[in-house]
Amino acid sequence: MRPMPLEVDLVLPGRGAALSGRRVVFTLSRDSGILGLCGPSGSGKTTLLRVMAGLCPKASGVVRVDGVSWLDSNLGTDLPLERRPVAYLPQGVSLFPHMNVRENLVFASRLAESAGFGKRPPSAGRLSGFRSILRGGSLPGWAQEVVELFGVSRLLDKRSGELSGGQAARIALARCFLRSARLYLLDEPFAGVDPEGRAGLGRILAGLLARRKAMALLVTHTPDELCPLAFGMVRLLPEEDGDESPGLPVQQGQMSGTGAKGLLERSGRWE
């Protein structure tokens, strides 16, 4: 039997000292495409993405992609970010301020090439280093294609401070997709983009994911907008206030009650 492309069964660590074990369970049976993730502020969307990216050491549970355990706290498995074929676009990301747009993209594409992605010209040892100096700050062809796909090739010579929010969001998306990954974690990638642009970007994203046979988990505050693109939606429920009074530190031992505040709801196919 083919392994499930994505299985997630996690207990999210709470913010700060308040470790309220909140359980999230969902699976993805399709090989590629967009899965939406929504929920009110503070419901743990960003934490979930960080756990899946391998940036949250306190997580417990299971994340399995194509049958490979990225995280399995029962077995003690926790692959570091570097060993997960994952690309993560954090919320409201800013470009590196000391580089212009082109340098930002060249930086990312070089890293992707050294990870074995892109059509690197056959290199002959020492010569390749020399060649990369000669090439200077120019984008390799495969990266140029990604950049054009996201419609940002006109902005390459701008500094990061000169960009509008929408432009910065497009460039951050392009930079994220320079990396080859099995799973893309996108935290509100369309923030700052106008409504027409959002629809266009969504189609670009869906097409790119289909071609790369990759999955994306996309955080959105406007689930309706994502309907035509995503084939499913994970909705995190708001954290219930109740037993613990605010301000009191909660003992770490209390979090073992997993699933006490369940919050799973997986809608079926969205048409």
Binding site: A53, L55, L81, E82, A87, Y88, P90, G92, V93, S94, L95, F96, P97, H98, M99, F107, A108, L111, A112, S114, A115, S160, G161, L163, G165, A168, R175, R179
Partner: protein, 226 residues
Amino acid sequence: MIHSALSVTVALSFLTATILSVLSLPLAGWIVFSRSSWTTLGESILTLTLVLPPAVLGYLLLVAFSPDSLPGSLMARLLGHPLPFSFAGLLLASLIYSLPFAVQPVAQSFRQIPLRTLEMARILGAPPFTVFRKIVVPMSLPGLATGWVLGFAHTVGEFGVVMMVGGNIPGETRTLSLKAYDDLLSMKAHGARDSVLLLLLFSSVSLVALNLLRRKGVDSHASDAP
């Protein structure tokens, strides 16, 4: 006479500031980014010369540099002459004395780099050394420049350590501040005035440079916001 004291001072301060700027990168990197608990000890040793009286430091360095001691004899064999009362010895002493002044500003700029910026580079697949080379160092250029200027200015003005380790040899280890002191003792008021004026000039130029750098640093941080 004043020319030789001036050239000794400028050569000493320039070399000290430049070598310290290079050294400050790995040192500050270790202090700020290492998770080892040794960093606290390292940082304390690094800032020790801030509170140690220069005469004490000069004495300790003389003892360490003396050809009778192990480090001193090793250095003497390497250089072909004993360290004390030579330019090389003076340079080594200045490096130790001015170390915290050059390293602290660099460490401070390393600390100011937002964690999410470093994390972003890691997410894009950059190994730690690449993050350091391509993100941390380029974003800390104002701090590096500040460290250079402080190291330079501090070496120009040092007196006690220079006096004890250098031995005040004209043309080799006599700096401007030593010359001002000598001239004053031997009642050469003009010579002392010239040295003091030169020292004042160095200090004011350094101050202007530091203020310009600080303004630049503020500007670059203001433009960080997307």
